[in-house]
């Protein structure tokens, strides 16, 4: 053990002497390790970015989307739909789920009232669709119990209200016959340019305060629901975030369960589990390819430098041998110099990769921020380090053999 430590210390000492050589070796190998580690990390960030962008559109993988259509002109909405939704969550132990009802409500703007698109959802939709408000916040469970409805609106809605931010804690009037006052707590980015105003409201609050016809009559507690002849009867669709491996079975079971409470309606369940592994694999192989070529170049440079240095050091090797260094020790020493150099280079490469990854302009590179930043690829760093050590050992092998073949008598002859 002491011998090994001694040899490493000796190799390090030798490297200190040959600073230029170390530097040259460092550059090639460090670049290679940076490439392997950095590209792997960037690829995982890229994949995460794609994944999150997809999930903002269609929910986390796997989200089951349950829809129902009326099979007849006069079908009435199933009364047990909401209760069955709750039972399904409990039965299949589903943590994140949301109903989604597209409807309209009359909203009062500074320039008058007009019908506005309203989406009645559950708070979990924020998690399922990775919703990140540009201002304020998304709904929380506390909003469910609030004594007045809360709204999350898009930028177009806020602008139509003559506002630019939430600093004034704005409220808006919803409903025509018995309007309710709702507090705006968050603002979402417009999905596209010139988007129409849209307001999100919690499903339960919507039905408690505003009513399915969007009148606001519920808040007054009187007056019948007036069916809107323009709005066909509908049931809210359901988003259920389920484990990937169970998604098919759960889809079938939930379809049966929901169908049972909705006679005269056609229930359909779809998932968003599209296979996107192709991009993942391709980018991974590009990363490995770049790293391997960089390592090859770095390694060749190292062999070259090591060979030249050994030729300059033949006398020194002869002196060491005359003072009792065995050929094994000389071999090990020369090879270890190369390995120590590449280990240092590898560490520099990993540090460089970390520095680059931590300072990547995510928004500019990937078009949007990354919510769940993938962890630094430790395995890639280890692979990079292992490759650096292997290259160091291989690059050290040839000069080490040359060193062992040095004839002591010739080396120390004046």
């Amino acid at each position: 053990m002491t011998g090994v430590v001694g040899a490493i210390v000796e190799a390090w000492g030798e490297l200190r002497i040959h600073k230029l050589r170390v530097l040259l070796a460092l550059i090639g190998v460090a670049c290679a390790v940076t490439a392997i580690t950095g590209v792997t990390a960037l690829v995982s960030m890229l994949n995460q970015s794609f994944k999150e962008q997809t999930e903002r559109q269609s929910g986390r993988v796997v989200t089951l989307n349950v829809n129902a259509w009326s099979m007849g002109e006069n079908a009435t909405p199933p009364t047990g739909w909401d209760a069955e939704f709750d039972r399904v969550l409990e039965r299949y132990d589903i943590t994140y789920a949301s109903r989604n009802e597209w409807t309209q409500a009359v909203v009062r703007y500074p320039d008058g009232t007009r019908a506005t698109q309203v989406q009645a959802v559950d708070a979990d939709l924020g998690t399922i669709n990775r919703i990140v408000p540009v201002q304020g916040r998304w709904f929380t469970d506390a909003d469910e119990e609030a004594m007045a409805p809360t709204l999350v609106v898009n930028e177009a809605f806020l602008e139509a209200q003559g506002l630019s931010d939430l600093s004034s804690h704005p409220t808006v009037q919803l409903g025509d016959r018995a309007p309710v006052t709702a507090a705006v707590v968050g603002v979402l980015h417009d999905d596209w340019v010139d988007a129409e105003p849209v307001a999100y409201v919690l499903y339960d609050q919507f039905h408690r305060w505003i009513g399915p016809d969007g009148s606001g009559m519920q808040s007054g507690g009187s007056g019948p629901v007036v069916p809107n002849p323009m709005m066909p009867p509908q049931v809210p669709s359901m988003y259920l975030w389920v484990p990937t491996e169970q998604s098919t079975d759960l889809g079938d079971q939930i379809k049966r369960d929901m169908q049972a409470v909705a006679p005269g309606w056609e229930v359909d369940v779809q998932d968003n589990n599209y296979n996107t592994g192709g991009l993942d694999r391709a980018t991974k192989w590009v990363g490995i390819g770049v790293g391997a070529f960089a390592l090859l170049l770095g390694g060749l440079g190292l062999v070259n430098i090591a060979l030249v240095t050994v030729r300059y050091r033949i006398r020194e090797i002869g002196i060491r041998r005359s003072f009792g260094a065995t050929s094994g020790r000389v071999f090990f020493g020369v090879m270890l110099e190369s390995v120590v150099a590449t280990v240092v280079a590898g560490l520099v490469g990993v540090v460089l990769a970390v520095a680059i990854i931590k300072n990547v302009p995510v928004e500019r590179m990937f078009g949007s921020g990354i919510q769940d930043m993938p962890p630094f690829p430790v395995s890639a760093a280890l692979v990079g380090m292992a490759a650096a050590v292997a290259v160091g050992a291989l690059a050290g092998l040839i000069p080490a053999i040359v060193a062992v073949r040095v004839k002591v008598i010739d080396a120390i002859r004046y």
Binding site: R320, A325, Y414
Partner: protein, 239 residues
Amino acid sequence: MTVLDLLDAPEQLGPPAPVLELRGAARQFPGDPPVHALHPADLAVATGDYLSVVGPSGSGKSTLLNLLGLLDKPTEGEYLLDGIPTAGAGERERAALRAGHIGFVFQAFHLMPHRTVLENVLLATLYSGVPRSERRDRALAALDRVGLSHRVDFVPTVLSGGERQRAAVARAVVAQPRVLLADEPTGNLDSESSASVLDLFDELHAGGLTLLVITHDDEVSARAQRRVRIADGYLREIP
């Protein structure tokens, strides 16, 4: 005779084994005709001897030094280092014997130019089993002994020839070898530096070190207690 008789018997103390001993050792190089660089020779160097081997160029001095320094093997005969036969020893064993028993001083000093004087001296402790904790102290003591305490952190390239050779002597003695082998130690030095190095050899000899100096210079040879002449591969003691 019983075991007890054996235990009671007085210990047979003969004369101590010579540090270096050639027994009919010869070195021949293949060729047509073969070159007899060293004809079968007998030589014994006892502990504390100061021996010089003198001879002109091409007489076989380097061949003899290589054999005595375990850098080469005799083609016939035997060479014993501290009583240990070496003719059949393997490379590893010979390296260990070199590390523990022999200190070399070369004509061209052979110091490593990028290392300090202290680091050069420390080199010899790496392979000779000197405990790590003692290495630095031993090296500083060796440098003090050769009068180079004030040059410890200098690189050899800024030292005078005499100082370089003193540093080389410090490197040779730091691991406390059984014998110091010096190959033309004054060959690259002016007369003043030569004198100081030879004075140092006298001091080391007076301290009990065994020295074997190979030289072509009769004046250097004359400083030794015993002299051997080598000519055309034949060794002959000078009375």
